[in-house]
Amino acid sequence: MTTLFRAENLAINFGGIKAVDGVTFDVEQGKVFTIIGPNGAGKTTVFNLISRIYDPSEGKLIFEGRDITRVPPHDVAGIGIARTFQNIELFEYATLLQNLLLGRHAHRGTNLIQDILHLPSARKSELAHRERVEKVIEFLDLEAYRDALIMNLPYGVRKVVELARALCTEPKLLLLDEPSSGLNTEETQDMAFWIQDIKVELGITVLMVEHDMSLVNEVSDRVLALNYGRVLAEGTAREVQSHPEVVKAYLGG
């Protein structure tokens, strides 16, 4: 039972409003940890803090025992943390394949000169990346869309591509921001299966923000409830959902 990631006393101010206040939690390696809470509770803000898009005004982020609170945002992928975005941030004018290959950027392996001259080492590197990307495509059943431009793909497929791209970075910790939002029941069920496969087959730790309670119940090992930037409760899915404060703030009677 090792702690892969720890957020300690995380807080951030946006012009006087404390969007996140004193949030502390541990994510255990190999488990699925879900954050729930009403809209505006600060869930995505926590994600943005972890991927270093924002700087916290207080608190620490500790990943694999190392303090990553001041790491530049573009180093996060190399460290082993990948994320998906709530409002899909794919590269619209590129093909699916190019999007996924970009997910490999953190493991680049060639420098500018090798690229310009397209040396044999560059080609070898390209082929290796392509192999890894194909594994992810196979895992998520995206074969049919390889060469399609993202802007021509339906919403449900785009959500899966977001996931695929994050997986291509070979993360140790995967941040999923509302993976089921906008998906119908069938697609959500697929997503649940994939999350479980990610945990069991790929051994990746998942940190997830979710609103769909059935999905939360099905996959989560541990749940954290946030409201107004503060922690309301933490425990198993059952414990948190029956917690009176959580019921009052979020789930309703």
Binding site: S51, F85, L90, A94
Partner: protein, 358 residues
């Protein structure tokens, strides 16, 4: 309709997707090599001019089309390449050293320009590049020791292997060779992680960052590469115009370069070529057209920019994908014939969402 059956990952990485492409491009290359035997010196010079424009166009396309960084002052890099090359030649530097050196200098200026404006986006970036372009133009005017100020200086001819490399047929082959090298370099970049990172920056900076792309580094690389290619074009341009003066590298030229990439088709190297042909041939068409216009319109010096403006406006309104885009649509029509559906490219209604609060 051609269907490419892929059996190997290498096929996706290769430059030529199928035998047909190899055939047509080889034919094109052969035609370009044979051209001096077929057309006379004047037109050869015009084609050489188009080639030089194409090199500059590739430079700007890498920056604006592929990385999404709009540069309204790109003529400045052309000027740096030209002035540096002329200066080096006048001081005894051998030709084949001077050209890459001038390009490197342009690249250095590109990096210097990029550095302070890395965090700017959209219109702010465009305005900043415009400001830089104007400042560099002033430097050309004021730094008399190097550039000769308003008087300028003439660019020496270069004789090598018994040929005058800076005119006529040898110059044509020189431009062609450099264009091919530049195109290959650009194509290599685009199929590599560097190129993908640039496209990522254009489409979504946030996502690029979370995939590990160091925004500042790659934007600087984009500027540097773009300036390098444009600087190369500048060195050749210096020989084409023969005499360097600051007003040759003004805002109008920058706008012409942008016209080149927009009309050609933003986001493709084909676009740079088509755009170069267009911008290079335009003055000829205007000259011919002047004979048909009533005298008081035709004699106006301000006609050319006005025509540029009109064409720019028409293209953006009606064919935003440029000439290359139109070519693709035509090809698609023939590929799908007779099953082509007229509404394939019907424009969707789109709404502006504020970029400020996104």
């Amino acid at each position: 309709m051609r269907f490419i059956f892929k059996t190997d990952y290498n096929q996706d990485i290769d430059l030529f997707k199928h035998g047909g492409q190899r055939f047509w491009y080889s034919l094109l290359l052969a035609a370009m090599i044979v051209m001096p035997l077929v057309i006379d010196t004047f037109w050869l010079g015009e084609v050489a001019y188009v080639l030089v424009l194409a090199i500059a166009g590739v430079g700007l396309m890498m920056l604006a089309g592929y990385t999404g960084l709009v540069s309204l002052g790109h003529a400045a890099f052309l000027g740096v390449g030209a002035y540096a090359h002329g200066f080096f030649l006048n001081h005894g530097v051998p030709f084949f050293v001077s050209v890459p050196l001038a390009a490197l200098l342009a690249a250095a200026v590109g990096v210097a320009v990029a550095f302070p404006i890395l965090r700017l986006t959209g219109a702010y970036l465009a305005i900043a590049t415009l400001a830089f372009g104007l400042i560099i133009e002033q430097v050309f005017i004021r730094w008399e020791a190097v550039t000769g100020g308003f008087r300028g200086f003439s660019v020496p001819r270069v004789n090598m292997f018994g040929l005058d490399l800076t005119d006529g047929v040898p110059f044509y082959y020189l431009c062609l060779a450099i264009l091919i090298i530049v195109l290959l370099a650009a194509l290599n970049i685009l199929r590599s992680p560097t190129g993908r990172a640039m496209i990522a920056i254009r489409d979504s900076e946030v996502a690029a960052q979370s995939m590990g792309v160091n925004l500042a580094l790659y934007k600087t690389i984009a500027f540097g590469l773009s300036a390098f290619f444009t600087g190369l074009a500048g060195a050749l341009f210096a020989h084409k115009i023969g005499f360097l003066a600051p007003d040759a590298f003004n805002v109008l030229l920058s706008i012409q370069l942008l016209l080149l990439v927009v009309v050609g088709g933003l986001g493709s190297l084909h676009g740079a070529i088509y755009g170069a042909i267009f911008v290079g041939a335009l003055p000829q068409f205007i000259a011919i057209g002047r004979d048909f216009l009533p005298p008081n319109i035709a004699s106006q010096p301000g006609l050319e920019p006005g025509l540029f403006g009109l064409i720019l406006v028409l293209f953006i309104m009606f064919e935003p994908l440029g000439i290359y885009g139109r070519w693709l649509k035509i090809k698609l029509y023939f590929d799908l014939f007779p099953l082509y559906k007229r509404a394939t490219f019907k424009r969707q209604k789109s709404y502006t969402k504020s970029e400020r609060n996104r």
